[in-house]
Symmetry: C2
């Protein structure tokens, strides 16, 4: 082969443009990144030449002086959890629209890795969106003081956040089950350090209490579909006729296992999931679940973050709450007599 490896074609810099236009490099810089600071005619000229030379600003040089990187990190505990699809999609679109780079980071369910990565990244990002962080309240607040941050599905004072109103969704689910005649409802718990898990559990307890019914809780079951088997087995040993699972991944895992063991769903047991993730509509039976506008959550989170980055205003620490609703499919039915 005669084509040499990586022919480094000399990159066009701001100086090349300066030379070509006769202006100083500083003027070129301003023309390109501070519109109002130079004469309109001058800017036009510079922009034209920049385009002609197909100039691409060097991110690193810029970051070095200005501190701005135009990059936002999105931290999820596991990229391959379909729950994050919508979030990733939402943040991605919104960030791309704003000209930001989307840095997706998988924290592998570890809070330690989370804060460690973040401190290492500190200089490479302008801000971060933390989805279902495993960090302690204190740590999260500390981090938020150092770095513009928006948390998703996690509420901590001092940290901006967008949360999905699962509580009211879970209440809906409970009503749904109760109206179908179920009296023994159990909650299949997710990871202990999950904020959403606790929120869901509490809200189920409250909803059931309104009807004078007790609820029990099984678990915790770690994230992941494998846990479904254990969860299903545990459930069978109870007198429950219905369950609400921490999330769809767990619920689907249970469905598979219940089918294996010949337990009819929803004839013998009704199953409700959470999140309406990819697959909930084509598993068997299709899953009754709590749908959340997670893609929108991603977009809102990005908007909040960008507002914070752009406006010099301190921004009132706010928190957006997005509504959820129950989608009834085939996995729930009347309680057996």
């Amino acid at each position: 082969m005669d084509n040499r490896d990586n022919v480094q074609r000399p990159r066009v810099t701001i100086n090349d443009i300066a030379e070509a236009t006769g202006f100083a490099a500083s003027t070129v810089s301003r023309a390109l990144s501070r519109p109002g600071r130079v004469n309109a005619a001058t800017r036009e000229r510079i922009v034209a030449v920049a385009r002609e030379l197909s100039y691409v600003p060097n991110t690193h040089a810029r970051a070095l002086t200005s501190g701005r990187t135009e990059t936002v990190a999105v931290l999820v505990s596991d990229v391959t959890n379909p729950f994050y699809f919508g979030l990733i999609r939402g943040t991605q679109h919104q960030l791309k629209a704003a000209g930001y780079t989307h840095l997706l980071i998988d924290t592998e369910n570890s809070g330690e890795l989370e804060s460690h990565t973040l401190s290492k990244m500190r200089q490479s990002i302008d801000g971060a969106i933390m989805a279902t962080s495993r960090l302690s309240r204190r740590l999260l607040a500390e981090l938020a003081a150092e770095l513009p941050l928006v948390a998703v599905n996690r509420m901590v004072r001092g940290v901006e956040s967008v949360v999905l109103d699962s509580p009211s969704g879970v209440a809906q689910a409970a009503e749904h089950l109760i109206s179908l005649g179920h009296r023994e409802i159990v909650y299949m718990s997710g990871p202990q350090n999950s904020w959403a898990n606790e929120a869901r559990w509490r809200s189920l307890v409250a909803a059931a209490a309104r009807h004078g019914l007790p609820v029990h809780r099984l678990g915790p079951f770690p994230a992941g579909r494998m846990s479904g088997s254990a969860a299903a087995d545990a459930l069978i040993n109870t007198r429950a006729t219905a369950c609400i699972a921490f999330n769809d991944l767990l619920a689907i895992g249970m469905l598979t296992r219940l089918r294996e063991r010949g337990v009819g769903v929803p004839d013998e047991i009704s199953v409700v999931g959470c999140d309406d993730m990819f697959g909930a509509d084509f598993c068997y039976p299709t899953l009754t679940t709590l749908a959340a506008p997670i893609e929108q959550a991603g977009r809102v989170a990005v908007s909040m973050l960008l507002a914070r980055l752009h406006d010099s205003a301190p921004a009132t620490r706010q928190s957006a709450v997005l509504p959820t609703h129950l989608i009834v499919r085939e996995s729930t039915g009347p309680a057996p007599r």
Copy 2:
């Protein structure tokens, strides 16, 4: 609230270490990034102080001079396509292990966006892994000449690649169907500009030909599950008793639609997917599909890329082929009489 926004604690730089140890900044730099270049005792001292001050090198400053960014971009056509799960996981692990940053980019199925993003990113990454690129052969080769590149599931001369041996897998699938008595097999085609799509089709034609059977092709159907309905409808209008779909997403979409229309699977029609993606084992009926070691593909791709980046050796342009195999589940059965 009294805690000020973003208390920029002064970052520790190489100069702070220089001052603390009495050495020059250049020596500190070398101690940290070029082990053999300084006295062992000196280095130890410097490393100790660096740790004590919890020094974190500034990525941008480094990138600016050295050109190295320790970042690899992984381009996929759609992050939310479960097919990429394994790939993302594989590349991520391998890159993290090597201390590299994993920059995931969604090209939104557009070749234009792909090359555009890449040229913009050029300076921010050391190399790229392109999964199922939509780029033309020529463009891809051009890019590879400018930037270390490894293509996944795409074979172009002059570009290193790792491909999944779907041809032999498709052949297996064909044999499977034929042995079940199917004589009218159709291929549900994916996007036209997909290399894998063509490879699969050709190999199906060849396999069927060995048995003296003709095969037809329907489509193309764009990527995405929505296409499944159209595909199923198209299929019903033929005399086919079995089909092989371009990928599982399409196959699952078809399954849903067939069920809606009351067509029994596999009693009336057998369906085979490709990729064994997330969901193939819990859809209804569970999907017979072609499993590929996609996570391993990601790891191999990263290994190839890193080898290329580290060894000054030009690296013989090679291509790894990974085996695939058929997983038989419930969506295939004997041909109806």
